[in-house]
């Protein structure tokens, strides 16, 4: 009883406890901010990993595998599977409107099914802003109705989803590059983009300025290596594609290196489309050309149809199904599929079926290591905190020696005195940790504006998107982490207060009373 009264009075009339309070607040706050950003980084990474590749990928690289539509149909019959989509993954070169050449990763997708598996539609950047907030208006976002015709943007969004563009001569297969890929979009501090003009140096030393808005009149020229039916790289093929839209996944690597192209167009370029299966004619057979009457070697004989192929099928799990469960479902389904198409598709033993965690394993383990490092530093900070609280409490107990003597004279026991100081430590710990968590919450929620502000005033960019993979600093607070940091903050205070509390309890009351 007297403990709570004295704790309250000590707390409000002395500077020392406020110092320890601030120390606890700062240490819990900084730890929580760091941990939240690191944890958010890992979480965003995981979610974005799914955005691009779904939960599980069934892959037979380069040459690809056939009958994928049957595989998808089989997969989608499973209760654990939400959707599956075909995809071709390959590499190539693109030429930008300013004649720059760039090596890129090219993915052939079917917009609708790709969206069902990866949420692709929501990553399309150019779209009408239907209900702009006042904040959007303050940002001068070009997607606002007052800047760009919303019906045009609506068409662009549709184009992006269908991966096609109609330039007046009927819809044509189109590509959707990542928003950072062309270098023609300037990132704004609020996270959006504004297109820039493309400038091309000419041979005469002039600069040719082209006014291009990619989804309206921009094109990309893609060059890639076709594969023959035996899986060997054959000739390079080049084709010009209109740009339908641009996507922003939030992962810098993806946004700057991936071009999505329409699946059928890519299949044609790569010789992975449906084709007649032929056999070379017998060298002794000949045919007579009806026009000229010449005798020619017999042409190859058509012996069947070579079905279209893709390199991967991406699968998305239903909510609540983890990717490892899904992977075993995929293996089972693939086994059935492989036996149905024996000798036409890779066997279930050689096919590559991996979860997105496995695909991103190096990166995930790197981030987990980094989180481990944060926790290690966390431990050290806690340790330091213990000593900080200990020294502050030690001097407070010394200063309050006389009070201890007085209380003992009034009948207080040793346990009561110990509890007086322990409770005080607890109070400082709880108040300090609550303030620390509150501080961390405010900082984490506003970390992007704070980060931008630091960048603008000091020129230091801490979160460089080219280094850190993501464009935005994660700004979610993990409440499990918050509870752990809170508990650790309180615990360090208790531990730090324990020794001074013991000392106060064991003081000789007479000496304490005579203390000057």
């Amino acid at each position: 009883m007297y403990q709570s009264l004295l704790n309250r009075r000590y707390l409000t009339s002395k500077i020392m406890p406020l110092l320890s309070l601030v120390a606890v607040m700062l240490s819990t706050g900084t730890i929580l901010v760091t941990w939240s950003v690191m944890g958010g980084f890992l979480k965003t990474l995981m979610e974005s990993g799914r955005t691009l590749i779904g939960d599980v990928a069934i892959t037979w690289p380069n040459v690809g595998f056939a009958h994928y539509e049957d595989l998808i149909a089989r997969l989608e019959r499973e209760p654990e599977v939400s959707a599956a989509a075909p995809i071709i993954e390959t590499f190539g070169m693109i030429r930008l409107p300013d004649d720059q050449l760039q090596a890129v990763s090219i993915r052939g997708v079917d917009g609708v099914s790709f969206d069902r598996v990866t949420g692709y539609a929501s990553t399309l950047f150019w779209r009408p802003l239907e209900k702009p907030t006042p904040k959007d208006r303050a940002r001068v976002d070009l997607r606002l109705p007052e800047h760009t015709d919303p019906s045009f943007l609506g068409q662009v969004l549709e184009n992006g989803l269908a991966l096609s563009r109609d330039d007046g001569m009927g819809p044509e297969p189109a590509v959707v590059p990542g928003i950072e890929l062309t270098g023609l979009n300037q990132r704004q501090s609020w996270g959006g983009y504004t297109p820039m003009t493309a400038m091309r140096p000419t041979a005469s030393g002039q600069i040719d300025v082209k006014n291009i808005f990619m989804p309206r009149n921009g094109t990309l020229t893609i060059t890639l290596l076709a594969i023959d039916s035996n899986g060997r790289f054959a000739d390079a093929v080049t084709r010009r594609f209109p740009v339908a839209n641009e996507f922003q996944s939030g992962i810098y690597d993806a946004d700057s290196q991936i071009v999505l192209a329409r699946l059928d167009a890519l299949q044609t370029m790569l010789n992975m489309d449906e084709a007649q299966k032929t056999e070379p004619g017998s060298p002794f057979e000949t045919v007579i050309d009806p026009d000229t009457g010449e005798e020619l070697p017999a042409p190859p004989r058509v012996i069947g149809v070579d079905p279209a192929r893709v390199t991967s099928v991406l699968v998305r799990a239903k909510t609540g199904i983890d990717s490892w469960t899904l992977r075993s479902v995929c293996s089972r389904v693939y086994g059935q599929f492989a036996s149905a198409h024996r000798d036409d598709v890779p066997s279930e033993y050689s096919i590559d079926i991996r979860t997105w965690q496995e695909k991103n394993a190096t990166l995930i383990s790197a981030v987990e290591k980094e989180t481990g490092l944060v926790l290690f530093i966390f431990g050290i900070v806690c340790f330091t905190n213990v000593f900080l609280v200990l020294s502050i409490f030690w001097s407070m107990v010394s200063e309050k020696t006389k009070d201890v003597g007085i209380l003992r004279a009034l009948g207080a026991g040793q346990l009561g005195i110990a509890w007086l100081w322990l409770r005080y430590g607890l109070l400082i710990g709880v108040v300090g940790a609550v303030l620390g968590v509150a501080m961390a919450y405010v900082i984490v929620r506003n970390i992007n504006p704070i980060h931008d502000w630091i960048g603008q005033t000091t020129g230091i960019v801490i979160w460089d998107p080219t280094v850190y993979y993501f464009i935005e600093v994660p700004n979610q607070m993990n409440w499990t982490h918050a509870v752990l940091v809170f508990a650790a903050g309180v615990l360090t205070c208790l531990i730090g207060a324990a020794i001074p509390a013991m000392r106060a309890a064991r003081m000789d009351p007479v000496k304490a009373l005579r203390f000057e």
Binding site: M1, Y2, R408, L410, Q414
Partner: protein, 283 residues
């Protein structure tokens, strides 16, 4: 009201063979060398002694704050000259330094209402301090962070604990305000001790000592830090309490003028209670 003959009453507090030796480096400094003292219920006893004669030490012992030397744990020093002594107390041995016969140490005893303090557990001793005795110190010893009422009620908080204070808190606050009013401090209830004069602070300290209605007030030079007029005003208040409520009072002082106000005075000389003086003037 109180008769001159105290011997007929069983003492409320009786001390026997109290020894206390402080250690100063290697040398033992004997302060109390076998104090025997009886305090009758309801009497006002003054213990008169020079500065440094061990008055405070004695009072702390009586209040259960301190422990006397025990035969087994006693410092082995000559009680007369302080020279280190060899072996356990042998009744026939002599001090090697001064040749005095080494006194055997009897077990010390403080008996309060028939109960030996040194047989009490720590919890019982805390209860004894909280409930049965009240301390008043020369330098007031108020808690600087608490206001006046809180400084008084804290005694009740210590006694009752959190749960008990829920039941007794109201009553304790009323009693505190009543006591402070009786001491003329009702307009100062929310003030901090540092805003009060010495005399006012000492009255707060007395109110605190009385909050749990103790049987004995142990006052250590309660007027030692006050001027004469204020000091006597404090003594008037104490005397009033003692007469009205039958409070037993043990007051130590070095000032014969103050001791005179008590009903009975004993002297503390050479670590022993030397002489009994009846202050007949008071009865």
């Amino acid at each position: 009201m109180i008769t001159g003959n105290m011997a007929s009453h069983a003492p409320i507090l009786a001390a026997r063979s109290l020894h206390k030796t402080y250690r100063l480096g290697k040398v033992g400094v004997p302060v109390l060398r076998g104090v025997d003292l009886d305090v009758a219920p309801g009497e006002w006893l003054a213990i008169l002694g020079a500065s440094g004669s061990g008055k405070s030490t004695l009072l702390h012992l009586l209040g259960g704050l301190d422990r006397p030397d025990t035969p087994a744990g006693a410092l082995r020093v000559c009680r007369r000259c302080g020279a280190p002594r060899r072996g356990l107390a042998d009744p026939n041995s002599l001090c090697s330094q001064c040749g005095a016969p080494v006194e055997p140490i009897r077990a010390p005893e403080i008996v309060y209402e028939g109960r030996d303090l040194f047989a009490m557990s720590g919890v019982e001793l805390n209860h004894y301090r909280a409930r049965h005795v009240g301390f008043v110190f020369q330098f007031y010893h108020l808690l600087p962070e608490l206001n006046i009422v809180e400084n008084v009620t804290i005694g009740a908080m210590v006694l009752h604990g959190r749960v008990g204070y829920l039941r007794h808190g109201r009553q304790a606050r009323q009693r505190a305000e009543h006591l402070l009013q009786a001491f003329g401090l009702s307009h100062r209830l929310r003030h901090r001790p540092r805003e009060l004069s010495g005399g006012e602070r000492q009255r707060v300290a007395i109110a605190r000592a009385l909050i749990n209605e103790p049987h004995i007030l142990l006052a250590d030079e309660p007027t030692g830090n006050l001027d004469r007029v204020t000091g006597h005003a404090i003594l008037d208040a104490i005397e009033h309490l003692q007469r009205e409520q039958g409070l037993t009072m043990v007051m130590v002082t070095h000032d014969p003028g103050i001791a005179e106000r008590a009903q009975r005075t004993v002297r503390l000389v050479d670590g022993r209670v030397a002489a009994h003086v009846e202050n007949s003037a008071m009865s």
